[in-house]
Amino acid sequence: MEKIFVGQLDELAPRMGKEVIVWGQKIAVFRLSDDRVKAIENICPHKQGPLAEGTVSGEYVFCPLHDYKINLNDGQVQEPDEGCVRAYETIVENDLVYVMV
């Protein structure tokens, strides 16, 4: 795994996602309201919705296309829907954001 720099913390707006493409993988990066940063695959398991455009609430994002609710910690789709997306570890150092890919 490698530590990939994806941007500065202040380039991320709280509760709004941003897509970063790392070696062809689409990753959605989110800054939560308490400034923690989460990263998951940017493709909803349902119909490929871009999760970065979803509504962020607490540690969850709701897919903008059909409202699948996905846990940002482990990428798990919440009941009653099923599926999961890859979750990536993130590191924030000196306001610089890294994703482990």
């Binding site: 707006a13 709004m16 897509e19 493409i21 070696w23 962020v56 609430s57 709701f62 409202d67 009941e79």
Partner: protein, 800 residues
């Protein structure tokens, strides 16, 4: 070793019994539940609401998978039991699993009864029982036009309303003279039919279906009187049959249902039955209240408590179709010895009938106003004598009705009929567990968790218990709160809440950051309430409004530039063409409201395209004033009486970019030929010789509604003013995501009319609107084009 308890049937009665057992003695059994459906336990009753799109499937799950885990229940799901060996105390499932039991509960429920007639096997013939059935029906409603529901009972009517709500043309076929004939008398049945007809349902009464027509799929029905009807789908809702297949593989006695005694024991030792599969004293019940009563008795039996024998249930019914409030309980036939008291109020269109035997209430039918349902049910259940009541009381004064005041109710007054929860239990739970919302009460006591009709009374009890501090509403705006739109808005003003975070905190939302349903709504209410103090919250807006472009199904976006009144010119067309070519826009289309749309644009290209187009956004993504559709009118058309294009442009200019609870569409036609279909616009204008007719509340959306004539005015200025007043009135009183048609229906057309036509009120609204939108009406695309930060934050994609 703990004793092994196996439940067959992961439905309402069975799981409820398990909950009661866990309540009494969580350590006693090692529990296994075998279920046939692929979902965890859910509230079957609410399928009607799912079909009417008032709730989602996830909202009706009562016990999620975690519940099974937390309680160490082994769940064998999506794998029905197919054989039962009561000698060796063993059950075999379809996939071949063998499960041994010490005690076994059968709770296999029932199946929709399908008329055994020709054609019943054809695709397109469905029952209404499970989540899968519901989803099939929703899917079919997308593809097909016409549906027939056979059976005008509770379930059939709820199914019919659901399909109607999905835009289908629905006819209900009923064998009897009136609807719900076992629960309603003729008068109430006919009132119900009239109300449902008003909502758009069609009925064929006293018709017996003889066969279902079609080769590869249903195409129609033939009746015994020789007539036929065309249809694409048939919902059979003529009754249910207890599911007893499994029990029949054993020596257990089965009649209509699995025979049980007063302690829910079957005729074979250690095997019990509850719910719709069970027959007690010759009765099989098809409603939840009795099943829960049975569950309690069985839980007592299985945990070694002294159990009171089950003595059958008095049932009651209400219908989950809005606009049709009915309530029926007990015996409602006027047989010998039973007399009735009847009252019909033709002004409010309400009806009540009480059936009395020897000074005791034995049955009740209420239509139109069911607020007293619980009270009568309690009198009925307790066999109270009614000597002390005035039997017919007309026109009593406001406040005279002690019944409405929960504080005076005795503790044993049942509040949630489905679950048999009385006021005392709720009060105790509220006080002991510090409950503050209706949802909490439901979680801890189950009251309100079934049909949900009692939620408003629970709210009253809660308010009373908490000293009137917290007023909880029957239905919240989403799963994060019990508060209704009105309560939230009132609190926003009362407590001067100026940010979403404050709203969520102060009003105790269970979810501190809300959900996609309430966040945009709260943001909108705050914008209307505090246009100056509240900064619009981008993170609460849905992606379309956040990015000022519509998200398409593949994650790309659409760009629709503004062409006021639908009018364009060669320069604009050239620009659009150039941009479309340069950015490889896959599709260019004239939209439904006479604008040109570029579809399939990548998010990153949006700001560049806007910059190069140098046109304004048409707001085609927004819950806001959209564009104004116009006909050519007096400029070129030989019929045109007015300058429709000119007026359209003026309206658009005056009100573009103003947020409204839902999209607000306008149309201006210059003569009654109404080429822009002004009759289905939120605000539609038709030019006539001496002025303009104004139509309001027309919606061409999921539910098509014809607009209603508001008034006729002489000048363009009056049109523009009335339009502004309506916008503001709708902004102030609308529920987020409620279109103007349901809004007007809710407010009452006469009220809306009176407000908009009163010159003084109109002026007030107009000023309020102007004040609210100062500084908020720029072209949103400009902001992005000019602001590098936003561009960076929202429209770029990082690449490594």
């Amino acid at each position: 070793m703990k004793e092994k308890l196996v439940l067959i049937g992961n439905g309402m009665a069975g799981v409820r019994t398990i909950e009661e057992i866990l309540d009494r003695d969580p350590e006693r059994y090692q529990i296994t539940i075998i279920g046939e459906e692929k979902y965890p336990n859910y509230n079957r009753i609410m399928l009607s609401n799912v079909l009417q799109k008032k709730m989602s499937v996830s909202e009706i799950i009562t016990n999620p998978i975690e519940w099974y885990e937390e309680n160490q229940i082994k769940l064998i799901n999506h794998d029905p039991a197919v054989k039962m060996d009561t000698d060796n105390k063993k059950i075999i499932t379809q996939s071949g699993k063998e499960i041994f039991y010490d005690k076994c509960i059968l709770a296999t429920g029932s199946r929709a009864f399908i008329l055994p007639i020709e054609g019943a096997q054809l695709p397109g013939v469905v029952g209404f029982r499970t989540i899968d059935d519901t989803e099939n029906m929703l899917e079919a409603s997308q593809k097909y036009q016409k549906a027939v529901v056979i059976g005008g009972g509770l379930l059939g009517l709820e199914a019919a309303k659901g399909l109607l709500d999905q835009g289908m043309d629905v006819t209900v076929i009923h064998l009897e003279k009136w609807l719900m004939e076992t629960q309603l008398d003729e008068k109430a049945g006919k009132m119900l039919q009239a109300d449902l007809e008003k909502q758009g349902l069609k009925f064929l009464m006293e018709k017996a279906t003889q066969k279902i027509l079609g080769e590869t799929r249903v195409t129609g029905l033939a009746f015994s009187d020789g007539t036929t009807i065309e249809t694409d789908m048939v919902v059979m809702s003529i009754g249910i049959r207890s599911e007893t297949t499994l029990a029949r593989t054993t020596t257990i006695e089965v009649n209509r249902g699995i025979v049980v005694d007063d302690f829910m024991k079957t005729t074979v030792p250690d095997v019990f039955a509850v719910g719709e599969c069970a027959e007690h004293n010759g009765n099989v019940y098809g409603l939840v209240a009795p099943l829960f009563e049975q569950g309690k008795v069985l839980a007592d039996v299985l945990t070694g408590k002294e159990a009171k024998p089950y003595q059958g249930s008095t049932t009651f019914t209400s219908l989950k179709v809005s606009g049709c409030d009915l309530y029926s309980a007990g015996n409602i036939r006027e047989t010998e010895g039973i007399n009735s008291i009847e009252a019909f109020d033709g002004i409010n269109y309400t009806y009540k009938k009480i059936f009395v035997r020897e000074n005791q209430v034995v049955g009740v039918v209420l239509y139109g106003d069911t607020s007293e349902g619980n009270r009568y049910y309690n009198i009925l259940k307790k066999n109270e004598s009614i000597e002390e009541y005035t039997p017919v009381s007309l026109l009593h004064m406001v406040g005279e009705e002690a019944s409405a005041d929960v504080s005076e109710w005795p503790d044993d007054e049942v509040i949630c009929g489905c679950n048999g929860i009385d006021k005392g239990t709720i009060m105790t739970a509220i006080n002991e567990k510090d409950l503050t919302s209706v949802a909490d009460v439901t979680k801890h006591t189950k009251a309100g968790g079934s049909c949900g009709k009692c939620k408003s009374v629970i709210g009253d009890v809660l308010a009373y218990a908490l000293g009137g501090e917290v007023v909880s509403a029957p239905t919240g705006i989403c799963g994060c709160t019990d508060l209704s739109r009105d309560q939230i808005v009132t609190q926003i003003y009362a407590k001067k809440l100026t940010s979403s975070d404050e709203v969520y905190r102060e009003l105790n939302f269970t979810n501190p950051e809300g959900c996609p349903k309430c966040r945009p709504a709260v943001n909108f209410y705050l914008n209307v309430a505090w246009p100056k103090e509240h900064a619009d919250e981008k993170e609460s807006r849905y992606v379309n409004e956040r990015l000022y472009a519509n998200i398409q199904n593949d994650g790309t976006f659409s760009v629709i530039p503004r062409m006021r009144g639908g009018k364009t010119n060669p320069q604009q067309l050239l620009l659009i063409a150039k941009v479309a070519e340069k950015y490889d826009v896959p599709m260019v289309k004239v939209t439904g409201s006479q604008r040109i749309g570029l579809y399939g644009v990548k998010k990153e290209d949006l700001p560049k395209i806007w910059e190069e187009l140098d046109m304004k956004s048409a707001g085609a993504y927004a819950k806001a004033v959209r564009s104004v559709k116009t006909c050519v009118g007096a400029n070129f058309c030989r019929f045109g009486t007015q300058d429709s294009m000119g007026l359209g442009i003026k309206l658009e200019q005056r009100y573009e970019f103003i947020d409204t609870p839902h999209k607000f569409k306008m149309g201006v036609s210059a003569c009654p030929r109404s080429c822009v279909e002004s009759g289905v616009k939120d605000f539609g204008i038709i030019g006539v010789d001496n002025g303009f007719q104004i139509y309001v509340g027309g919606n061409g959306g999921t539910e098509i509604k014809e607009a209603v004539l508001l008034t006729t005015v002489e000048t363009e200025q009056e049109v523009i003013d009335i339009c502004g007043a309506m916008l503001q009135y709708y902004r102030e009183t609308g529920i987020y995501a409620e279109r103007t048609a349901p809004w007007i229906e809710r407010m009452g057309f006469d009220v809306v009319k009176e407000v908009l036509l009163d010159p003084e009120k109109r002026q007030e609204l107009l000023s309020a609107l102007d004040e609210a939108v100062i500084g908020r009406r720029g072209n949103p695309w400009d902001e992005v084009v000019e602001d590098n930060n936003t561009r960076q934050e929202l429209y770029t994609v990082g690449r490594v």
